[in-house]
Point group: C2
Chain length 774, copies 2
C-alpha cells in the first residue's frame, strides 16, 4: 500500500465499516491538515458563480437542483453517484466525501471524518443498545443534538462531512448478532422511537425548518438485515427469507417511522437479499416502499460495495453494467464504493439505463447537500457557522454521556443488603474481571476518539479504596487467573466483578456461536463469588444478552447489572449506580435467552413467529414463550414503585362485521366511510407511585395483547413513558390509545387490521400485570 505522505503504514484492526475488507487494514498515518470546511458556490473566490441558479439561495431546493443538473455532463453526474464524489471545478463544486459515521458520537470510521490536534476527540456516548435501555425518548434526541453540534463544529474546521450514516435501526432479532449492540434492541416500537428521536436530534435545525438539515442522518440497513457471519453464512450472500407478515410488523416499522416521523434524509440498503432479491436492486423495496409509500425526502445509499457484491458474490446480474442499471432503476441514488462510478456509463451505452434515471439519483443527492447549506457559500456566514473546537467535548456534552450511561444501566438482581453500597462503610473494594479496567471496550464500534475515558476501576477508585485483579487477561479468557482474584475478594468488604464481551466476541462480521460468558469467565465469577465475604456485584458489559443463569441462581452473587457498552464515561456511571448516586432505571431492550435456545434455533431462520409443528420457538418477547434468563423490559431500581389505573374506559366497542382493514398507510384512522370508528381513541392514564424515600426514574411500559388471530404477537409494546419520581411521590402517565393505529395487527398477507375480540392492555413487566380489557 502506498502512503501519499511517505509515512509508515500502521496496522489497524476492527476498522471495517459495512464494507468488504480484510480483518486487518493497513492505513497511512496521515495527519489531517485541512482547517476549513468544503463548500460550493464560493462567490467570494469566484464571483461568476453568483449568476448560477443553483447558487441562488432565494430559489427552492427543487429549482436549484434542476438548474445544477441540467448544467452537468453525463460523466459529471456519474462522478456524483459515489461516496467519494468528484469535483466539478468549472462550476465551483469541490469534491465531497459522503461517508461519515455518528452511531453514538462523531466517529472517524468513515473516510469523511478525522481527528487532529485541532479536534482530538469527540463525545462518545454509550452504544445504542444501552441508550435504548433508558427508554427515554428525549434522551435519544438530546444525544443526537449534541452529536450534530459536534459534527458541525468539526465540519467547520474541515474535519468532518455533513452526511452521517447513522443510526443502525435493524431489529435485534437474534442474540448472537454481532451488531446487535449498534441497535435499539428487539422491539419495533422502541426502535421506531429511537430512530425518530436520534434522527431528529441529528437533523433538525434550530429554526425548525424541515427543508434544512443540521446534518443528514441515515437509517440503515434496509431491510431484514441482522446476520453478519454465523457459521460461515455471510451477510454478503445471505438470502433472508421473510414472510410478508414479519416484514410488515417487525422489520419495516423502524424504517417507516424513521422516514415518516423522523423525516430522515437517507436510507441505506443492505447487503443481504430479501426473498431472493438484493435489497439495493429491489424496485419494490426502494422506489415502491421508501419513495412511493413513505415519501423519503432524501437519498438512498448502498451499503459499502454492495452493488459490487450483488454482481460478484451473489451473481445476481450477469455483468457489472447490469448491476449498475438495476440498482439505479430500483431507486438507488448513491453508491458507497466506486462501482457505479465505473460501470454506469457502460450501462447507459449498452442501453440498460437512461440518463433520466441518473438525473433522478443525482438530484436526490444534490438536494440533500442543498438542504445542508453546502451550496450556500462560506459556512462561517451560515447558521452553525460559529461552531468550532470549543463546542466539542464540552463539559455539558461529557456530562450527558455519563447521564446516558446511568439511565441505560439495568439492575437485574439485587438481594437485600446488596446495592447500593455505602461508600463510607466500604474500606476495601475488590474490583475484578476482564472488563474491570475497560477503556476502549466501553466505546464499542463505529467509534471516534473519545474526549477521555473513565474506566470502571477509575470510577470506583474515585469513591473507595480498591484492589484490582483482572482474573482474565481479556474477555476471551482462555486461561483464568484465579488466585489473585480470589485472594483480593476474600479480604475485601465487597466485590465488583466486571465481565462480558468486547469486539473480539461480538462485532461486525462476527456473530456469536454461543451466548454464555466467554472462555473461563463463568469459572472466575463463581470462584470469586465463593471466596468473597461481602456483597458480590456482577457487572456484565456486553452488547448482546448472556446466559448467566448460574449467577442468577447463585446466592453468593447478590446483584447483577448490565451496562451494555457504556461509552467514555461508563466507569463513572457504573460507580454512580453501585454507590447509589444514581438510582438505576434502565430496562432490557432485548430478551436474554438461555444457551439452549441458540442451540436449537438456526440464526438463518428469519421467522419471528413460533412454529409448533417443527418446534421452532419464535423470537423476541412478542412471540417466544419459552424460558428466558431475563426478559424484555426487565429492570429494577432501588425503590419500589406501585401502579394504579387512573383513567380507563370500562369498555370500548365498535360494531364491525369482520376484521376491519386500515386503509391509511399510517393507520391513523379507520376507513373514513365507516362513521362509527373514525378517529376512535380513548385515554388510558396510569398512576405511578414511588414508595421509597429516594428519588427514582421509572418507565411505564404499556403492552397490548390482541385477540389470538392472525398469528398475532402474544404481547406487544404499545407505548412507553419514563417519568422521574421524587421520593414518596406519584405521577400520572397519560396514554392516548388510537384503536386503529395501536390495536391493529398485521395479517399473513401484510394487511393491517383491527381484529374482533378482546384486547388486553397491561403495564409491565410485572408478574401480575395491571391490565384493562377492551
Amino acid at each position: 500500500m502506498a502512503c501519499t505522505e511517505n509515512r509508515e503504514p500502521k496496522v489497524s484492526v476492527f476498522l471495517c465499516f459495512s464494507f468488504l475488507c480484510a480483518t486487518v487494514l493497513l492505513s497511512c498515518g496521515r495527519v489531517w491538515g485541512q482547517t476549513s470546511a468544503v463548500f460550493a458556490c464560493d462567490v467570494v473566490k469566484n464571483p461568476a458563480l453568483a449568476g448560477f441558479g443553483f447558487c441562488d439561495k432565494s430559489l427552492s431546493v427543487e429549482d436549484r437542483v434542476g438548474d445544477l443538473v441540467k448544467r452537468l455532463t453525463l460523466q459529471e453526474k456519474i462522478g456524483n453517484l459515489v461516496n467519494g464524489a468528484a469535483e466539478v471545478s468549472r462550476l465551483g463544486i469541490p469534491k465531497y466525501q459522503w461517508w461519515s459515521e455518528a452511531l453514538h458520537g462523531v466517529s472517524n470510521i468513515g473516510p469523511g471524518t478525522h481527528f487532529s490536534s485541532v479536534v482530538p476527540g469527540a463525545t462518545s456516548f454509550p452504544m445504542p443498545i444501552l441508550t435504548a435501555a433508558s427508554f427515554n425518548t428525549t434522551l435519544f434526541e438530546a444525544i443526537g443534538r449534541v452529536v450534530s453540534t459536534e459534527a458541525r463544529a468539526m465540519y467547520n474546521v474541515g474535519l468532518a462531512g455533513l452526511t452521517f450514516w447513522s443510526p443502525n435501526i435493524n431489529i435485534f432479532r437474534d442474540p448472537r448478532w454481532g451488531r446487535g449492540q449498534e441497535t435499539p434492541g428487539e422491539d419495533p416500537l422502541l426502535s421506531s422511537q429511537y430512530a425518530t428521536g436520534y434522527v431528529k436530534g441529528l437533523q433538525q435545525t434550530d429554526d425548525g425548518d424541515s427543508n434544512k438539515l443540521k446534518v443528514a442522518a441515515c437509517c440503515k440497513h434496509y431491510t431484514a438485515y441482522d446476520l453478519d457471519n454465523w457459521k460461515g453464512v455471510q451477510r454478503y450472500t445471505f438470502n433472508a427469507v421473510v414472510t410478508q407478515q414479519d416484514l410488515d410488523d417487525t422489520f419495516q416499522p423502524p424504517f417507516k417511522s424513521c422516514v415518516i416521523d423522523g423525516n430522515v434524509a437517507s436510507v441505506m440498503c443492505s447487503y443481504n437479499q430479501v426473498n431472493g432479491k438484493p435489497t439495493c436492486a429491489d424496485p419494490d423495496l426502494l422506489k415502491g416502499v421508501i419513495r412511493g409509500q413513505w415519501k423519503l425526502n432524501g437519498y438512498i445509499v448502498s451499503d459499502c460495495d454492495s452493488v459490487e457484491v450483488l454482481f460478484k458474490d451473489q451473481h445476481y446480474t450477469k455483468t457489472p453494467e447490469e448491476a449498475a442499471a438495476k440498482t439505479i432503476l430500483a431507486g438507488l441514488d448513491l453508491d458507497c464504493g466506486n462501482y457505479l462510478g465505473q460501470y454506469t456509463e457502460g450501462a447507459v451505452k449498452q442501453g440498460l439505463l437512461d440518463e433520466a434515471s441518473i438525473n433522478i439519483a443525482v438530484s436526490n443527492n444534490f438536494a440533500t447537500l442543498m438542504r445542508l447549506g453546502f451550496f450556500d457559500g462560506d459556512p462561517s456566514k451560515q447558521p452553525y457557522g460559529n461552531l468550532g473546537p470549543k463546542d466539542v467535548c464540552t463539559s455539558q456534552n461529557q456530562e450527558l454521556a455519563r447521564e446516558a450511561a446511568r439511565q441505560g444501566i439495568v439492575l437485574l438482581k439485587n438481594s437485600p443488603g446488596s446495592l447500593p453500597l455505602n461508600a463510607k462503610a466500604i474500606k476495601s473494594l475488590a474490583v475484578i474481571g476482564p472488563n474491570a479496567n475497560a477503556t476502549r471496550v466501553m466505546i464499542g464500534n463505529y467509534e471516534g476518539i473519545p474526549c477521555n475515558y473513565i474506566s470502571p476501576l477509575q470510577g470506583l477508585t474515585a469513591l473507595v479504596p480498591t484492589s484490582y485483579a483482572p482474573g482474565c487477561p481479556n474477555v476471551q479468557c482462555a486461561n483464568a487467573q484465579l488466585d489473585d482474584a480470589t485472594k483480593i475478594a476474600a479480604s475485601a468488604d465487597a466485590t465488583v466483578i466486571i465481565v462480558g464481551a468486547s469486539l473480539a466476541i461480538e462485532a461486525e462480521s462476527l456473530d456469536r456461536i454461543n451466548i454464555l460468558l466467554p472462555g473461563q469467565q463463568q469459572l472466575l465469577v463463581s470462584d470469586v463469588a465463593n471466596a468473597s465475604k461481602g456483597p458480590v456485584i456482577l457487572v456484565i458489559m456486553s452488547g448482546g444478552g448472556m446466559d448467566v443463569s448460574f449467577a442468577k441462581t447463585n446466592d453468593k452473587i447478590t446483584s447483577i447489572l448490565w451496562v451494555g457498552y457504556p461509552g467514555e464515561a461508563g466507569g463513572a456511571a457504573i460507580a454512580d449506580v453501585i454507590f447509589g448516586f444514581h438510582n438505576p432505571s434502565g430496562r432490557l431492550p432485548m430478551t436474554w435467552y438461555p444457551q439452549s435456545y441458540v442451540d436449537k434455533v438456526p440464526m438463518t431462520n428469519m421467522n419471528m413467529r413460533a412454529d409448533p409443528a417443527t418446534g421452532y420457538p419464535g423470537r423476541t418477547y412478542r412471540f417466544y414463550k419459552g424460558e428466558t434468563v431475563f426478559s424484555f423490559g426487565d429492570g429494577i431500581s432501588f425503590s419500589s414503585v406501585e401502579h394504579r389505573i387512573v383513567k380507563a374506559p370500562q369498555l370500548v366497542s365498535f360494531p364491525l362485521a369482520e376484521d376491519h382493514v386500515c386503509h391509511s398507510s399510517e393507520c391513523k384512522s379507520l376507513d373514513v366511510a365507516d362513521e362509527h370508528c373514525q378517529n376512535l381513541t380513548f385515554d388510558f392514564h396510569i398512576g405511578v407511585k414511588n414508595m421509597g424515600r429516594i428519588s427514582s426514574s421509572h418507565t411505564v411500559l404499556l403492552f397490548f395483547t390482541p385477540p389470538d388471530v392472525h398469528n398475532a404477537p402474544q404481547k406487544h409494546l404499545l407505548a412507553f413513558e419514563k417519568v422521574h419520581l421524587p421520593g414518596k411521590s406519584e405521577a400520572h402517565v397519560r396514554f392516548k390509545v388510537d384503536v386503529c393505529k395501536d390495536l391493529s395487527v398485521v395479517d399473513e398477507l401484510g394487511n393491517r387490521k383491527v381484529p374482533l375480540g378482546q384486547h388486553l392492555l397491561h403495564v409491565g413487566n410485572l408478574k401480575h400485570p395491571l391490565g384493562v380489557r377492551i
Copy 2:
C-alpha cells in the same frame, strides 16, 4: 528485514528457540539449494591439506586439535566460539552452523537444518513427555537412533548439521511450565534414563567407538531451569534460589547421568541465574561440576544470546567484554549468538582473558567436530556416507513414531463396558473437540516438517463411520459451539471428545496461569457427555497435566486417555488404543495437580520440599502429600495384572555407627575402607502376571521410601522396567539393588548418605503396594 534472494518475507509464529526474540519473526522464504555436506580437509580439492596434522586421521583427536589450534590466529579462534562459526579458508575449513535441533525428530527450528524438495520432511516422534510415559528405555534409544540416521542422511545432502541441541532434560517441576512437554517429566530417575537412552541413540556409532559420534547431542538447559514466563517473571532475569539439597537430588541428576552414563558431547547452560549467578558464568557449575566432577568430553554451549543477556538484562557484568571473559573463564566453549564473536578480542586486549583459555574453548569445539568426522574429508567415503533421502521417513521409521505414541498413551479411567470399543459394533462414532482433527498441534514445538500427519479424526474414520463437530474452533475456545457437537453425540453409538492444549496455551515463553481445560472446553465436554447415549471417551492432548476432576467424577464420561502431543502418527495411535488394537501401557511421568495447587504455589518458589511452617506443599510425587487429580505413575490397561515377590532378602543389615557417607561421586560403593559394606547389593525379583487373555505391556515401578531423616523424599523411583506379557503369562523382573547408590539420600548440605533405619521398597502405583522392608 532484507531478503537476500529477493523473496517476500513471510511471517512465522512460534519459531523461537531458546532465544531472545519477538513473538513474530520475519524470515525469508529461502529455498535451500545446497546438495552436499560441508566438511573440512577436502584433500581431493586441495591436496596440500593432506600434509596438515589436523587432517591426519591416524592421529588422536587430541593431537589433531592441538595441531589445528596452534595454526590459528586469535581472530580465527574467536570466529569459532560462536554458533555461526567462521571459515578458515586458508586451512580448508568451511564455515559451520552449530545450531541444529532434534528434540523428537530432525527439526528445522535451528538455522543449521532445512527441508527442501530433496528431503521434504522427517519422522516426527511424540513430544518427549509422551515418549517418557512409555517408561521404555529401549524405545528412548531406538528413537534417538532413527533421528540420528535421518540427521546424517540430511547432513549428507547439505540440509543439516552434525550438532543437535537436544534433549531437554530439565525436571518438570511445576505443571504450568510451558516447556514441560519437551522434557521426560518430573522424576530424576526417569529423566536420567531418558537422557542416557536418547543421547546414546543419537550419538553412538555402530562400531561402538566412544571416540566417534554419529551426531553430537546436547543436554540442556543446565541447570534449575523450568520457568519461562509466568506472571511477568521471565527466564532471562529469573534467579532460581535453590537449596544444595534440591540441586543435588532433583535438578542435577539428569545432567549427571547424561554426561556420565550417556557420554553426551555437549551441555547447554541456561538463561536463569542459580542462587545469584548466571549459569553460563558460574565456574563452579561449569568447570567445577561438568568438567571437573563429571568429566564432560565435549563442549559447553550457551543458551541463545545468554552471554548478552547476562550483561544487558541481568546487569551481571559492567561491560560486554567482562561478560565474554567471565563466561569463557567459567568454562563456556561456544556462544549461541555472536556476543563472544564481538567482545572476546576486546576482553583479551583489556587483560580480562588470556588466549590460553580461548584455546581450551575452541579445542573443545574442534574436538567435537573431529569426533563427528568433519575433518576426515569427503563424508560420502566415511561411515554413514551412504545415508541419503531414501533413509528419511522410511516406513519403518514412521511405524516407530506410531509405536512410540501407542506406548506412551496413558489410560486414566475406564468404566466397565467402555474401552476398547468394538469396531464391528460401532455404526456411528461422534468425534468432537478442538483437537479432534489436530495435525500441527500433535507435533508440539522444536518440530520439523513431518513425513505426513494422521489426525485423530483420520485415524478413527479409517476404522468406523464417524461424524465430526469440533465444538471449539481452537483450544482457546472462547466460544464453544455446543449444538452441533451435542447433536452428533446424541445420535452416535459412542463419542470421542479430544480436547486439551496447544502451543497457544503452553509453550516456550508461555507458562500457564491455570491448569484447567482452556476456555469453554470443560463446558463442551460436560454438555456432550450429557447428550451422549453411548460410551464417552475423553482424550486429553496436552503437555502438562490438566485439572479434569470434573471428568474423573462424571459417570457419563466412561474413559479418559492422555495422549501428550503424540507426533505425526498420533491419530492412528489414538485409534489403535480406542479400538483395542493396542493395549495401553503408558504411565504418567508427572503429577496432575488440582487447580487449587497452582493457586497457592508461586511458580517462582523452587523448593521441592514441603514447608509445614508456611503451608508450602512441596512438589512432585516425591514431596507433595496433597490431593492429586492423577498421580505420577498412574496408568491402567485393558488387562488386570498381579504382582508377587519372587526373590527378596528377608532382612538386609549392615553395622554402621552413624549415617554412612558415600565418597564415590557415583556412589557405586560404600567407603572402601569399610569392609562390611563394599559393593553391598541384593536381588529383588518381582513376578508380574497378566490375568487377562489379551497381551499387555506393563511397567514395574520400584519405589523406595527411606527412613524419615534429612527431609528425604516420601518415596522415590528406584528402578523401573517394562515387560511385555502375552495373555495369561507371567514374567519375572529382576532388580539388583545397590545399597549405597539406590538407598542413599542427599542431606541438607548435598552429601549423599545411607541413612540408618528402615527402608521400604514397594511396587506401584498400587493402592496397596507390594512392599518389602529392609
